[in-house]
Protein backbone atom coordinates (compact mmCIF):
# COMPACT_ATOMS: atom_id res chain seq x y z
CA UNK A 1 0.00 0.00 0.00
CA UNK A 2 2.74 2.38 1.06
CA UNK A 3 4.84 1.47 -1.95
CA UNK A 4 1.86 1.79 -4.25
CA UNK A 5 1.04 5.23 -2.88
CA UNK A 6 4.64 6.33 -3.21
CA UNK A 7 4.92 5.16 -6.81
CA UNK A 8 1.64 6.72 -7.72
CA UNK A 9 2.86 10.01 -6.28
CA UNK A 10 6.19 9.77 -8.07
CA UNK A 11 4.24 9.27 -11.27
CA UNK A 12 2.75 12.72 -10.77
CA UNK A 13 6.07 14.30 -9.81
CA UNK A 14 5.54 17.85 -10.99
CA UNK A 15 2.28 18.59 -9.26
CA UNK A 16 3.29 16.65 -6.18
CA UNK A 17 6.62 18.49 -5.87
CA UNK A 18 4.90 21.84 -6.25
CA UNK A 19 2.46 20.88 -3.52
CA UNK A 20 5.25 19.68 -1.27
CA UNK A 21 7.12 22.95 -1.78
CA UNK A 22 4.02 25.00 -1.03
CA UNK A 23 3.29 23.09 2.15
CA UNK A 24 6.96 23.00 3.20
CA UNK A 25 7.34 26.77 2.89
CA UNK A 26 4.17 27.34 4.86
CA UNK A 27 5.24 24.88 7.54
CA UNK A 28 8.62 26.62 7.78
CA UNK A 29 6.78 29.90 8.24
CA UNK A 30 4.53 28.44 10.90
CA UNK A 31 7.50 27.04 12.78
CA UNK A 32 9.52 30.21 12.33
CA UNK A 33 6.87 32.29 14.06
CA UNK A 34 6.94 29.94 17.00
CA UNK A 35 10.70 29.72 17.05
CA UNK A 36 11.29 33.46 16.79
CA UNK A 37 8.79 34.06 19.58
CA UNK A 38 10.31 31.36 21.74
CA UNK A 39 13.87 32.50 21.27
CA UNK A 40 13.16 36.21 21.51
CA UNK A 41 11.34 35.52 24.74
CA UNK A 42 14.20 33.37 25.94
CA UNK A 43 16.78 35.98 24.99
CA UNK A 44 14.81 38.79 26.54
CA UNK A 45 14.21 36.88 29.71
CA UNK A 46 17.90 36.00 29.84
CA UNK A 47 19.04 39.54 29.36
CA UNK A 48 18.54 40.73 32.88
CA UNK A 49 18.47 38.78 36.07
CA UNK A 50 19.30 39.70 39.62
CA UNK A 51 18.09 43.26 39.18
CA UNK A 52 15.09 43.92 41.37
CA UNK A 53 14.11 47.36 40.17
CA UNK A 54 14.98 49.66 37.32
CA UNK A 55 14.32 53.32 37.92
CA UNK A 56 14.34 56.25 35.57
CA UNK A 57 12.50 59.39 34.57
CA UNK A 58 8.73 59.27 34.14
CA UNK A 59 7.91 57.22 31.07
CA UNK A 60 6.17 53.99 30.24
CA UNK A 61 7.66 50.97 31.91
CA UNK A 62 8.19 49.25 28.58
CA UNK A 63 10.05 52.25 27.22
CA UNK A 64 12.30 52.44 30.27
CA UNK A 65 13.02 48.71 30.17
CA UNK A 66 13.76 48.67 26.44
CA UNK A 67 16.03 51.71 26.69
CA UNK A 68 17.95 50.78 29.84
CA UNK A 69 18.51 47.06 29.21
CA UNK A 70 18.01 46.46 25.52
CA UNK A 71 19.30 49.81 24.29
CA UNK A 72 16.25 50.05 22.05
CA UNK A 73 14.69 53.49 21.64
CA UNK A 74 15.64 56.42 23.81
CA UNK A 75 14.45 58.28 26.86
CA UNK A 76 13.27 61.82 26.28
CA UNK A 77 13.82 62.87 29.88
CA UNK A 78 16.56 62.31 32.35
CA UNK A 79 16.58 61.61 36.05
CA UNK A 80 18.50 63.91 38.36
CA UNK A 81 21.56 62.66 40.17
CA UNK A 82 20.06 63.85 43.42
CA UNK A 83 17.04 61.64 43.09
CA UNK A 84 19.28 58.76 42.19
CA UNK A 85 21.49 59.28 45.22
CA UNK A 86 18.49 59.68 47.39
CA UNK A 87 16.99 56.40 46.34
CA UNK A 88 20.29 54.56 46.15
CA UNK A 89 20.99 55.60 49.71
CA UNK A 90 17.85 54.06 51.14
CA UNK A 91 18.23 51.30 53.68
CA UNK A 92 16.52 48.58 51.70
CA UNK A 93 18.76 49.17 48.69
CA UNK A 94 21.67 46.78 48.55
CA UNK A 95 23.34 48.16 45.47
CA UNK A 96 22.61 50.72 42.74
CA UNK A 97 24.16 51.19 39.33
CA UNK A 98 23.51 54.42 37.42
CA UNK A 99 23.33 54.33 33.63
CA UNK A 100 23.51 57.16 31.17
CA UNK A 101 22.60 56.49 27.56
CA UNK A 102 22.17 58.41 24.35
CA UNK A 103 25.58 58.36 22.73
CA UNK A 104 27.06 55.98 20.26
CA UNK A 105 30.22 54.71 18.64
CA UNK A 106 29.59 54.05 14.97
CA UNK A 107 26.01 53.20 15.71
CA UNK A 108 26.73 51.04 18.75
CA UNK A 109 25.20 52.23 22.01
CA UNK A 110 27.42 53.77 24.63
CA UNK A 111 26.53 52.88 28.19
CA UNK A 112 28.00 55.30 30.69
CA UNK A 113 28.03 53.73 34.10
CA UNK A 114 30.18 52.87 37.09
CA UNK A 115 32.23 49.95 38.28
CA UNK A 116 29.01 48.68 39.83
CA UNK A 117 27.81 47.54 36.41
CA UNK A 118 30.38 44.79 36.03
CA UNK A 119 29.92 43.86 39.68
CA UNK A 120 26.16 43.66 39.83
CA UNK A 121 24.84 43.12 36.32
CA UNK A 122 23.58 39.55 35.92
CA UNK A 123 22.18 37.80 32.89
CA UNK A 124 20.71 34.41 32.10
CA UNK A 125 21.02 32.19 35.17
CA UNK A 126 22.59 34.85 37.41
CA UNK A 127 25.78 34.87 35.38
CA UNK A 128 28.25 37.71 35.80
CA UNK A 129 29.99 39.72 33.13
CA UNK A 130 33.53 38.56 32.44
CA UNK A 131 36.27 40.81 31.24
CA UNK A 132 38.26 38.45 29.02
CA UNK A 133 40.74 40.99 27.76
CA UNK A 134 42.24 43.80 29.84
CA UNK A 135 40.15 45.12 32.71
CA UNK A 136 37.10 47.22 33.56
CA UNK A 137 37.68 50.95 33.18
CA UNK A 138 39.10 52.63 36.25
CA UNK A 139 39.41 56.12 34.96
CA UNK A 140 38.00 58.67 32.56
CA UNK A 141 38.63 58.38 28.88
CA UNK A 142 38.68 54.62 29.07
CA UNK A 143 36.24 52.22 27.49
CA UNK A 144 35.27 48.55 27.76
CA UNK A 145 33.73 46.83 24.74
CA UNK A 146 31.09 44.13 24.51
CA UNK A 147 32.22 41.07 22.56
CA UNK A 148 30.25 41.92 19.46
CA UNK A 149 31.14 45.61 19.64
CA UNK A 150 34.85 44.73 19.69
CA UNK A 151 34.33 42.58 16.62
CA UNK A 152 32.24 45.16 14.76
CA UNK A 153 34.59 48.05 15.53
CA UNK A 154 37.66 45.93 14.99
CA UNK A 155 39.17 47.24 18.18
CA UNK A 156 41.14 45.55 20.91
CA UNK A 157 42.72 46.63 24.16
CA UNK A 158 45.11 49.50 23.52
CA UNK A 159 43.17 50.92 20.57
CA UNK A 160 41.33 54.20 20.64
CA UNK A 161 37.80 55.26 19.77
CA UNK A 162 35.74 58.42 19.67
CA UNK A 163 32.19 58.86 20.86
CA UNK A 164 29.50 60.58 18.84
CA UNK A 165 26.65 62.41 20.43
CA UNK A 166 23.31 60.85 19.64
CA UNK A 167 22.53 57.30 18.72
CA UNK A 168 22.75 57.69 14.95
CA UNK A 169 25.23 55.89 12.77
CA UNK A 170 28.29 57.85 11.76
CA UNK A 171 27.44 61.02 13.56
CA UNK A 172 28.23 64.50 12.45
CA UNK A 173 29.29 65.73 15.84
CA UNK A 174 32.07 63.38 16.73
CA UNK A 175 34.22 64.57 19.52
CA UNK A 176 37.60 64.01 18.09
CA UNK A 177 39.21 65.99 20.81
CA UNK A 178 38.38 63.22 23.27
CA UNK A 179 40.08 60.04 22.14
CA UNK A 180 39.11 57.22 24.47
CA UNK A 181 41.30 54.22 25.10
CA UNK A 182 39.94 50.69 24.98
CA UNK A 183 41.04 49.03 28.22
CA UNK A 184 38.91 45.89 28.25
CA UNK A 185 36.73 43.51 26.24
CA UNK A 186 33.86 41.48 27.72
CA UNK A 187 33.12 37.84 27.09
CA UNK A 188 30.15 37.06 24.86
CA UNK A 189 26.86 36.93 26.73
CA UNK A 190 24.22 36.65 24.02
CA UNK A 191 22.57 39.79 25.40
CA UNK A 192 22.59 43.45 24.27
CA UNK A 193 25.66 43.88 26.48
CA UNK A 194 27.63 42.37 23.60
CA UNK A 195 26.84 45.32 21.36
CA UNK A 196 27.55 48.03 23.90
CA UNK A 197 30.52 50.28 24.64
CA UNK A 198 30.98 50.99 28.34
CA UNK A 199 32.54 54.15 29.70
CA UNK A 200 32.41 56.00 32.98
CA UNK A 201 29.80 58.65 33.65
CA UNK A 202 32.52 61.26 33.87
CA UNK A 203 33.81 60.35 30.43
CA UNK A 204 30.44 61.07 28.88
CA UNK A 205 30.15 64.37 30.72
CA UNK A 206 33.54 65.37 29.36
CA UNK A 207 32.48 64.37 25.88
CA UNK A 208 29.47 66.61 26.29
CA UNK A 209 31.72 69.44 27.33
CA UNK A 210 30.63 69.56 30.94
CA UNK A 211 33.18 69.49 33.71
CA UNK A 212 32.22 66.55 35.87
CA UNK A 213 31.02 67.67 39.26
CA UNK A 214 30.91 71.33 38.31
CA UNK A 215 27.16 71.58 38.22
CA UNK A 216 25.55 73.45 41.06
CA UNK A 217 22.69 71.87 42.86
CA UNK A 218 20.15 73.24 45.22
CA UNK A 219 20.42 70.27 47.50
CA UNK A 220 23.50 69.63 49.52
CA UNK A 221 25.61 66.68 48.78
CA UNK A 222 25.04 63.79 51.04
CA UNK A 223 28.53 62.49 50.72
CA UNK A 224 31.03 65.16 51.46
CA UNK A 225 34.16 65.19 49.40
CA UNK A 226 32.44 63.08 46.77
CA UNK A 227 31.69 64.98 43.62
CA UNK A 228 28.77 64.24 41.31
CA UNK A 229 29.99 62.11 38.47
CA UNK A 230 27.06 63.41 36.37
CA UNK A 231 24.32 65.95 36.59
CA UNK A 232 21.66 63.56 35.47
CA UNK A 233 21.36 59.93 34.36
CA UNK A 234 19.01 57.89 32.16
CA UNK A 235 18.26 55.06 34.52
CA UNK A 236 19.56 53.03 37.40
CA UNK A 237 19.54 49.36 38.27
CA UNK A 238 18.78 48.53 41.87
CA UNK A 239 19.36 45.41 43.93
CA UNK A 240 17.44 45.13 47.17
CA UNK A 241 18.44 43.54 50.44
CA UNK A 242 14.97 42.09 50.85
CA UNK A 243 13.45 41.16 47.53
CA UNK A 244 9.79 41.24 48.57
CA UNK A 245 10.15 44.92 49.33
CA UNK A 246 10.46 45.63 45.60
CA UNK A 247 6.75 46.18 45.17
CA UNK A 248 6.56 48.71 47.99
CA UNK A 249 9.64 50.57 46.88
CA UNK A 250 8.35 50.61 43.32
CA UNK A 251 5.16 52.26 44.50
CA UNK A 252 7.09 54.82 46.49
CA UNK A 253 9.33 55.71 43.59
CA UNK A 254 6.42 55.98 41.21
CA UNK A 255 4.95 58.57 43.56
CA UNK A 256 8.27 60.26 44.32
CA UNK A 257 7.51 63.86 45.12
CA UNK A 258 10.61 65.77 44.10
CA UNK A 259 10.66 64.43 40.56
CA UNK A 260 8.35 62.35 38.37
CA UNK A 261 10.00 58.93 38.23
CA UNK A 262 9.20 55.44 37.04
CA UNK A 263 10.27 52.22 38.69
CA UNK A 264 9.73 48.79 37.23
CA UNK A 265 10.37 45.19 38.08
CA UNK A 266 12.07 43.69 35.01
CA UNK A 267 10.26 40.35 35.12
CA UNK A 268 6.82 41.91 35.42
CA UNK A 269 7.43 44.44 32.68
CA UNK A 270 8.73 41.75 30.36
CA UNK A 271 5.51 39.87 30.97
CA UNK A 272 3.49 42.94 30.08
CA UNK A 273 5.59 43.30 26.97
CA UNK A 274 4.73 39.70 25.99
CA UNK A 275 1.09 40.46 26.45
CA UNK A 276 1.37 43.34 24.03
CA UNK A 277 3.37 41.28 21.59
CA UNK A 278 0.94 38.42 21.99
CA UNK A 279 -1.60 40.07 19.73
CA UNK A 280 1.08 40.46 17.13
CA UNK A 281 2.20 36.88 17.56
CA UNK A 282 -1.36 35.59 17.31
CA UNK A 283 -1.82 37.51 14.09
CA UNK A 284 1.34 36.01 12.62
CA UNK A 285 0.26 32.59 13.81
CA UNK A 286 -3.14 33.01 12.26
CA UNK A 287 -1.64 34.12 9.00
CA UNK A 288 0.84 31.28 8.80
CA UNK A 289 -1.91 28.82 9.69
CA UNK A 290 -3.90 30.16 6.77
CA UNK A 291 -0.89 29.78 4.50
CA UNK A 292 -0.51 26.17 5.64
CA UNK A 293 -4.18 25.62 5.00
CA UNK A 294 -3.87 27.01 1.49
CA UNK A 295 -0.97 24.63 0.88
CA UNK A 296 -3.08 21.72 2.06
CA UNK A 297 -5.99 22.84 -0.11
CA UNK A 298 -3.55 22.72 -3.02
CA UNK A 299 -2.84 19.11 -2.15
CA UNK A 300 -6.56 18.41 -1.89
CA UNK A 301 -7.02 19.90 -5.34
CA UNK A 302 -4.43 17.72 -7.03
CA UNK A 303 -5.80 14.63 -5.31
CA UNK A 304 -9.35 15.41 -6.36
CA UNK A 305 -8.28 16.28 -9.89
CA UNK A 306 -6.32 13.04 -10.13
CA UNK A 307 -9.36 10.94 -9.24
CA UNK A 308 -11.00 11.37 -12.60
CA UNK A 309 -7.96 10.23 -14.55
CA UNK A 310 -7.35 7.43 -12.08
CA UNK A 311 -10.70 5.72 -12.48
CA UNK A 312 -9.09 3.04 -14.65
CA UNK A 313 -6.37 2.58 -12.08
CA UNK A 314 -9.02 2.09 -9.41
CA UNK A 315 -10.85 -0.48 -11.54
CA UNK A 316 -7.59 -2.36 -12.09
CA UNK A 317 -6.93 -2.42 -8.36
CA UNK A 318 -10.43 -3.65 -7.72
CA UNK A 319 -10.01 -6.37 -10.32
CA UNK A 320 -6.97 -7.75 -8.51
CA UNK A 321 -8.95 -7.89 -5.29
CA UNK A 322 -8.75 -4.45 -3.68
CA UNK A 323 -11.92 -3.37 -1.91
CA UNK A 324 -13.25 0.18 -1.95
CA UNK A 325 -11.79 0.62 1.52
CA UNK A 326 -8.34 -0.23 0.19
CA UNK A 327 -8.69 2.54 -2.36
CA UNK A 328 -9.86 4.85 0.39
CA UNK A 329 -6.75 4.15 2.43
CA UNK A 330 -4.56 4.42 -0.66
CA UNK A 331 -5.62 8.03 -1.07
CA UNK A 332 -5.26 8.76 2.63
CA UNK A 333 -1.77 7.25 2.53
CA UNK A 334 -0.84 9.42 -0.42
CA UNK A 335 -2.01 12.57 1.32
CA UNK A 336 -0.33 11.71 4.60
CA UNK A 337 2.90 10.91 2.76
CA UNK A 338 2.79 14.27 1.02
CA UNK A 339 2.12 16.18 4.24
CA UNK A 340 4.67 14.23 6.25
CA UNK A 341 7.32 14.74 3.63
CA UNK A 342 6.41 18.41 3.21
CA UNK A 343 6.45 18.96 6.97
CA UNK A 344 9.93 17.56 7.34
CA UNK A 345 11.05 19.52 4.29
CA UNK A 346 9.64 22.60 6.02
CA UNK A 347 11.59 21.78 9.16
CA UNK A 348 14.76 21.35 7.11
CA UNK A 349 14.07 24.65 5.40
CA UNK A 350 13.66 26.32 8.77
CA UNK A 351 17.01 25.01 10.02
CA UNK A 352 18.72 26.03 6.80
CA UNK A 353 17.33 29.55 7.04
CA UNK A 354 18.15 29.81 10.70
CA UNK A 355 21.65 28.54 10.20
CA UNK A 356 22.36 30.94 7.36
CA UNK A 357 20.76 33.97 9.04
CA UNK A 358 21.98 33.31 12.57
CA UNK A 359 25.05 35.55 12.46
CA UNK A 360 23.23 38.31 10.65
CA UNK A 361 20.40 38.37 13.20
CA UNK A 362 22.82 38.27 16.07
CA UNK A 363 24.84 41.20 14.82
CA UNK A 364 21.70 43.18 14.03
CA UNK A 365 19.63 42.51 17.11
CA UNK A 366 21.88 40.85 19.63
CA UNK A 367 19.46 37.96 19.69
CA UNK A 368 21.22 34.64 19.40
CA UNK A 369 19.07 31.99 17.74
CA UNK A 370 20.45 28.72 18.92
CA UNK A 371 20.02 25.69 16.66
CA UNK A 372 18.09 23.52 19.06
CA UNK A 373 16.13 20.38 18.36
CA UNK A 374 12.46 21.13 17.74
CA UNK A 375 10.65 22.06 20.95
CA UNK A 376 7.47 20.26 22.01
CA UNK A 377 5.49 23.26 20.78
CA UNK A 378 7.08 22.88 17.37
CA UNK A 379 6.44 19.13 17.23
CA UNK A 380 2.90 19.88 18.19
CA UNK A 381 2.53 22.33 15.32
CA UNK A 382 3.99 19.87 12.85
CA UNK A 383 1.67 17.21 14.21
CA UNK A 384 -1.29 19.50 13.65
CA UNK A 385 -0.28 20.04 10.04
CA UNK A 386 -0.09 16.32 9.41
CA UNK A 387 -3.42 15.78 11.16
CA UNK A 388 -4.96 18.54 9.05
CA UNK A 389 -3.54 16.87 5.94
CA UNK A 390 -4.99 13.57 7.06
CA UNK A 391 -8.42 15.07 7.73
CA UNK A 392 -8.49 16.86 4.39
CA UNK A 393 -7.51 13.65 2.61
CA UNK A 394 -10.72 12.06 3.79
CA UNK A 395 -12.55 14.09 1.16
CA UNK A 396 -10.82 12.66 -1.93
CA UNK A 397 -10.62 9.28 -0.21
CA UNK A 398 -14.36 9.25 0.28
CA UNK A 399 -14.82 10.31 -3.34
CA UNK A 400 -12.58 7.47 -4.50
CA UNK A 401 -14.56 5.07 -2.35
CA UNK A 402 -17.90 6.14 -3.83
CA UNK A 403 -16.48 6.27 -7.33
CA UNK A 404 -15.06 2.77 -7.16
CA UNK A 405 -18.35 1.46 -5.85
CA UNK A 406 -20.36 2.93 -8.70
CA UNK A 407 -17.75 2.24 -11.38
CA UNK A 408 -16.95 -1.28 -10.35
CA UNK A 409 -15.00 -2.75 -13.22
CA UNK A 410 -16.97 -1.08 -15.96
CA UNK A 411 -15.38 2.35 -16.20
CA UNK A 412 -16.67 4.53 -18.98
CA UNK A 413 -13.80 6.58 -20.30
Amino acid sequence: MFKLALKSLLNRKTSVILTVVAIAVSVALLLAVERVKEQVQQNFANTVSGTDLIIGPRSSQTQLLLASIFHIGSMTNAMSWDSYENIAGRDEVDWAVPISLGDSVQGLPVVATTEGYVKHYRYADKQTLNVIQGRWFADNEQAVLGAEAAKTLGLAVGDQLTIAHGSGGLSFSEHDQHPIAVVGVLARTGTPVDQAVFVSLETIETVHGIEPGSAEHADNHQHEGHEHPAESITAALLGLKVKPLALRLQREINTYEKEPLTALMPGMTLQQLWKTLNVFEQTLNGMSAIVVFIGLIGMLTILLASLRERRREMAVLRAVGAGPLTLFSLLVTEAVLVTLFATFAGLALLYTLQWSLMDFIHSQTGILFSLNLPTPAEWWRMGLVVIAGFLLSLIPAWRAYRQSLSDGLTVKV
Binding site: L4, K7, S8, L10, N11, R312, E313, A315, V316, L317, R318, A319, V320, G321, A322, G323, P324, L325, T326, G408, L409, T410, V411, K412, V413
Partner: protein, 236 residues
Protein backbone atom coordinates in the same frame (compact mmCIF):
# COMPACT_ATOMS: atom_id res chain seq x y z
CA UNK B 1 -16.67 -32.97 -13.16
CA UNK B 2 -17.44 -30.31 -10.55
CA UNK B 3 -18.76 -26.88 -11.46
CA UNK B 4 -16.47 -23.88 -11.46
CA UNK B 5 -19.37 -21.54 -12.02
CA UNK B 6 -23.03 -22.23 -11.45
CA UNK B 7 -25.75 -19.59 -11.71
CA UNK B 8 -29.30 -20.17 -10.60
CA UNK B 9 -32.20 -17.78 -11.26
CA UNK B 10 -29.93 -14.76 -11.29
CA UNK B 11 -31.51 -11.42 -11.92
CA UNK B 12 -29.69 -8.09 -11.95
CA UNK B 13 -30.58 -4.58 -13.00
CA UNK B 14 -28.46 -1.44 -12.77
CA UNK B 15 -30.88 1.23 -11.67
CA UNK B 16 -33.98 -0.67 -10.56
CA UNK B 17 -36.23 -0.70 -13.66
CA UNK B 18 -35.24 -3.08 -16.49
CA UNK B 19 -33.24 -6.17 -15.59
CA UNK B 20 -30.14 -6.45 -17.77
CA UNK B 21 -29.30 -9.95 -16.56
CA UNK B 22 -31.91 -12.64 -16.10
CA UNK B 23 -30.35 -16.10 -16.22
CA UNK B 24 -32.34 -19.14 -15.20
CA UNK B 25 -29.46 -21.60 -15.07
CA UNK B 26 -25.87 -21.65 -16.27
CA UNK B 27 -23.02 -23.97 -15.44
CA UNK B 28 -19.36 -23.95 -16.38
CA UNK B 29 -17.30 -27.02 -15.52
CA UNK B 30 -13.92 -26.86 -13.87
CA UNK B 31 -11.10 -26.69 -16.38
CA UNK B 32 -13.42 -25.71 -19.20
CA UNK B 33 -12.46 -22.96 -21.65
CA UNK B 34 -15.53 -21.08 -22.65
CA UNK B 35 -16.24 -18.38 -25.19
CA UNK B 36 -19.22 -16.25 -24.26
CA UNK B 37 -20.42 -14.19 -27.19
CA UNK B 38 -22.81 -11.31 -27.11
CA UNK B 39 -23.55 -8.08 -28.91
CA UNK B 40 -22.37 -4.74 -27.62
CA UNK B 41 -24.46 -3.55 -24.74
CA UNK B 42 -26.03 -6.95 -24.22
CA UNK B 43 -24.75 -7.08 -20.64
CA UNK B 44 -21.58 -9.14 -21.00
CA UNK B 45 -19.48 -6.89 -18.76
CA UNK B 46 -22.35 -6.64 -16.33
CA UNK B 47 -22.53 -10.41 -16.03
CA UNK B 48 -18.76 -10.57 -15.47
CA UNK B 49 -18.94 -8.00 -12.69
CA UNK B 50 -21.48 -10.30 -11.02
CA UNK B 51 -19.14 -13.27 -11.40
CA UNK B 52 -16.26 -11.22 -10.02
CA UNK B 53 -18.36 -10.26 -7.02
CA UNK B 54 -18.11 -6.54 -7.70
CA UNK B 55 -21.85 -6.30 -7.97
CA UNK B 56 -24.46 -8.46 -6.37
CA UNK B 57 -27.56 -9.72 -8.15
CA UNK B 58 -30.90 -8.66 -6.74
CA UNK B 59 -31.98 -12.27 -6.86
CA UNK B 60 -30.56 -15.74 -7.36
CA UNK B 61 -27.43 -17.69 -6.52
CA UNK B 62 -23.95 -17.47 -7.98
CA UNK B 63 -21.86 -20.44 -6.89
CA UNK B 64 -18.17 -20.23 -7.62
CA UNK B 65 -16.07 -23.29 -6.73
CA UNK B 66 -18.94 -24.48 -4.59
CA UNK B 67 -19.53 -21.35 -2.53
CA UNK B 68 -22.45 -19.02 -3.08
CA UNK B 69 -20.82 -15.59 -3.34
CA UNK B 70 -24.17 -13.80 -3.11
CA UNK B 71 -24.17 -14.75 0.56
CA UNK B 72 -20.81 -13.12 1.16
CA UNK B 73 -20.30 -9.53 2.31
CA UNK B 74 -18.78 -7.07 -0.12
CA UNK B 75 -15.52 -7.43 1.72
CA UNK B 76 -15.56 -11.20 1.56
CA UNK B 77 -16.37 -11.04 -2.14
CA UNK B 78 -13.31 -8.79 -2.68
CA UNK B 79 -11.24 -11.36 -0.83
CA UNK B 80 -12.76 -14.18 -2.85
CA UNK B 81 -11.92 -12.37 -6.07
CA UNK B 82 -8.34 -11.75 -4.95
CA UNK B 83 -7.91 -15.43 -4.07
CA UNK B 84 -9.70 -17.22 -6.89
CA UNK B 85 -10.28 -14.99 -9.90
CA UNK B 86 -7.97 -13.49 -12.50
CA UNK B 87 -9.44 -10.67 -14.53
CA UNK B 88 -8.40 -9.15 -17.86
CA UNK B 89 -9.97 -6.00 -19.29
CA UNK B 90 -10.34 -5.01 -22.90
CA UNK B 91 -7.50 -2.53 -22.40
CA UNK B 92 -5.89 -0.20 -19.84
CA UNK B 93 -5.18 -3.18 -17.65
CA UNK B 94 -2.02 -1.84 -16.07
CA UNK B 95 -1.02 0.78 -13.55
CA UNK B 96 1.03 3.11 -15.72
CA UNK B 97 3.48 4.01 -12.97
CA UNK B 98 4.51 0.45 -12.23
CA UNK B 99 6.81 -1.60 -14.41
CA UNK B 100 5.39 -4.53 -16.36
CA UNK B 101 6.97 -6.83 -13.81
CA UNK B 102 5.47 -4.97 -10.84
CA UNK B 103 2.08 -5.03 -12.53
CA UNK B 104 2.25 -8.82 -12.67
CA UNK B 105 3.10 -8.93 -8.96
CA UNK B 106 -0.10 -6.98 -8.27
CA UNK B 107 -1.90 -10.24 -9.09
CA UNK B 108 -0.75 -11.77 -5.81
CA UNK B 109 -0.55 -8.51 -3.85
CA UNK B 110 -3.96 -8.84 -2.24
CA UNK B 111 -3.98 -12.62 -1.79
CA UNK B 112 -1.87 -14.59 0.64
CA UNK B 113 -3.45 -17.74 -0.77
CA UNK B 114 -2.20 -17.06 -4.27
CA UNK B 115 1.25 -16.26 -2.90
CA UNK B 116 1.31 -19.60 -1.10
CA UNK B 117 0.48 -21.43 -4.30
CA UNK B 118 3.62 -20.17 -6.00
CA UNK B 119 6.27 -22.82 -6.33
CA UNK B 120 9.05 -20.24 -6.46
CA UNK B 121 9.37 -16.60 -5.45
CA UNK B 122 6.74 -14.23 -6.80
CA UNK B 123 9.43 -12.17 -8.50
CA UNK B 124 10.82 -15.22 -10.25
CA UNK B 125 7.37 -16.45 -11.28
CA UNK B 126 6.48 -13.06 -12.74
CA UNK B 127 9.71 -13.06 -14.73
CA UNK B 128 9.02 -16.58 -16.01
CA UNK B 129 5.47 -15.76 -17.06
CA UNK B 130 6.48 -12.62 -18.88
CA UNK B 131 9.33 -14.42 -20.62
CA UNK B 132 6.97 -17.14 -21.78
CA UNK B 133 4.65 -14.43 -23.07
CA UNK B 134 7.52 -12.98 -25.09
CA UNK B 135 8.60 -9.92 -23.10
CA UNK B 136 12.34 -9.39 -22.84
CA UNK B 137 13.93 -8.79 -19.44
CA UNK B 138 14.39 -5.17 -20.38
CA UNK B 139 10.77 -4.71 -21.41
CA UNK B 140 9.68 -6.26 -18.13
CA UNK B 141 11.36 -3.47 -16.19
CA UNK B 142 9.92 -0.69 -18.32
CA UNK B 143 6.96 1.33 -17.12
CA UNK B 144 3.78 -0.32 -18.36
CA UNK B 145 2.75 2.84 -20.18
CA UNK B 146 5.51 2.53 -22.83
CA UNK B 147 4.56 -1.00 -23.89
CA UNK B 148 2.47 -1.67 -26.99
CA UNK B 149 -1.18 -2.60 -26.52
CA UNK B 150 -0.40 -6.23 -27.40
CA UNK B 151 2.39 -6.36 -24.80
CA UNK B 152 0.17 -4.72 -22.21
CA UNK B 153 -2.49 -7.37 -22.73
CA UNK B 154 0.10 -10.09 -22.23
CA UNK B 155 1.25 -8.46 -19.01
CA UNK B 156 -2.41 -8.41 -17.97
CA UNK B 157 -2.68 -12.12 -18.75
CA UNK B 158 0.38 -12.87 -16.63
CA UNK B 159 -1.08 -10.85 -13.78
CA UNK B 160 -4.43 -12.60 -14.04
CA UNK B 161 -2.82 -16.04 -13.98
CA UNK B 162 -0.01 -15.66 -11.45
CA UNK B 163 -0.70 -17.65 -8.31
CA UNK B 164 -2.95 -20.04 -10.28
CA UNK B 165 -6.47 -18.70 -9.64
CA UNK B 166 -9.20 -21.25 -10.38
CA UNK B 167 -11.14 -18.93 -12.67
CA UNK B 168 -9.94 -16.53 -15.36
CA UNK B 169 -12.34 -13.90 -16.61
CA UNK B 170 -11.39 -12.03 -19.75
CA UNK B 171 -13.61 -9.22 -20.96
CA UNK B 172 -12.94 -8.76 -24.69
CA UNK B 173 -9.17 -8.81 -24.12
CA UNK B 174 -8.39 -9.01 -27.83
CA UNK B 175 -10.69 -6.39 -29.26
CA UNK B 176 -7.88 -3.83 -29.28
CA UNK B 177 -5.49 -6.22 -31.07
CA UNK B 178 -5.10 -6.94 -34.77
CA UNK B 179 -5.93 -10.46 -36.06
CA UNK B 180 -2.40 -11.77 -35.96
CA UNK B 181 -1.70 -10.69 -32.39
CA UNK B 182 -5.14 -11.81 -31.37
CA UNK B 183 -4.59 -15.47 -32.25
CA UNK B 184 -1.13 -15.56 -30.68
CA UNK B 185 -2.50 -13.94 -27.55
CA UNK B 186 -5.36 -16.40 -27.18
CA UNK B 187 -3.02 -19.34 -27.72
CA UNK B 188 -0.62 -18.14 -25.03
CA UNK B 189 -3.45 -17.34 -22.68
CA UNK B 190 -5.00 -20.79 -23.04
CA UNK B 191 -1.63 -22.49 -22.73
CA UNK B 192 -0.87 -20.77 -19.44
CA UNK B 193 -4.38 -21.41 -18.11
CA UNK B 194 -4.27 -25.07 -18.94
CA UNK B 195 -0.93 -25.41 -17.18
CA UNK B 196 -2.67 -24.10 -14.05
CA UNK B 197 -5.91 -25.97 -14.76
CA UNK B 198 -7.72 -22.65 -14.72
CA UNK B 199 -11.30 -22.39 -15.94
CA UNK B 200 -11.54 -19.69 -18.61
CA UNK B 201 -14.51 -17.46 -19.33
CA UNK B 202 -13.61 -15.45 -22.39
CA UNK B 203 -16.09 -12.80 -23.42
CA UNK B 204 -16.18 -11.32 -26.90
CA UNK B 205 -18.50 -10.00 -29.56
CA UNK B 206 -16.39 -11.77 -32.21
CA UNK B 207 -17.66 -15.29 -33.08
CA UNK B 208 -14.61 -16.09 -35.24
CA UNK B 209 -12.57 -16.83 -32.15
CA UNK B 210 -14.76 -19.79 -31.19
CA UNK B 211 -12.33 -22.34 -32.67
CA UNK B 212 -9.87 -21.79 -29.82
CA UNK B 213 -12.30 -22.79 -27.07
CA UNK B 214 -13.95 -25.98 -25.86
CA UNK B 215 -17.33 -24.42 -25.40
CA UNK B 216 -19.14 -21.62 -27.20
CA UNK B 217 -22.10 -19.97 -25.51
CA UNK B 218 -24.31 -17.18 -26.83
CA UNK B 219 -25.33 -14.74 -24.15
CA UNK B 220 -28.65 -14.17 -25.92
CA UNK B 221 -29.59 -17.81 -25.32
CA UNK B 222 -28.47 -17.73 -21.73
CA UNK B 223 -30.00 -14.38 -21.02
CA UNK B 224 -33.11 -14.15 -23.23
CA UNK B 225 -34.10 -10.59 -22.43
CA UNK B 226 -35.86 -8.17 -24.72
CA UNK B 227 -32.70 -6.13 -25.36
CA UNK B 228 -34.12 -2.70 -24.80
CA UNK B 229 -30.89 -1.11 -23.80
CA UNK B 230 -28.80 -2.60 -26.61
CA UNK B 231 -29.39 0.16 -29.14
CA UNK B 232 -27.38 2.77 -27.22
CA UNK B 233 -25.23 0.23 -25.41
CA UNK B 234 -21.60 0.97 -25.12
CA UNK B 235 -18.82 -1.45 -25.76
CA UNK B 236 -16.71 -1.50 -22.66
Amino acid sequence: MSAAIELDKVRFSWSSQVPIIDIDHWRVDCGDTLLLRGASGSGKSTLLSLLAGINKPQRGEICLLGSDITRLSARQRDKFRADHIGYIFQQFNLLPYLSAHENVLLGVHFSALRRQRLTQSATQTATDYLSRLGLSKQQQQQPAAVLSVGQQQRVAAARALIGAPEILIADEPTSALDTEHRDVFIKLLLELSQANNTTVVFVTHDATLAGHFNTHTELSQLNPLPQTASAGGSNV
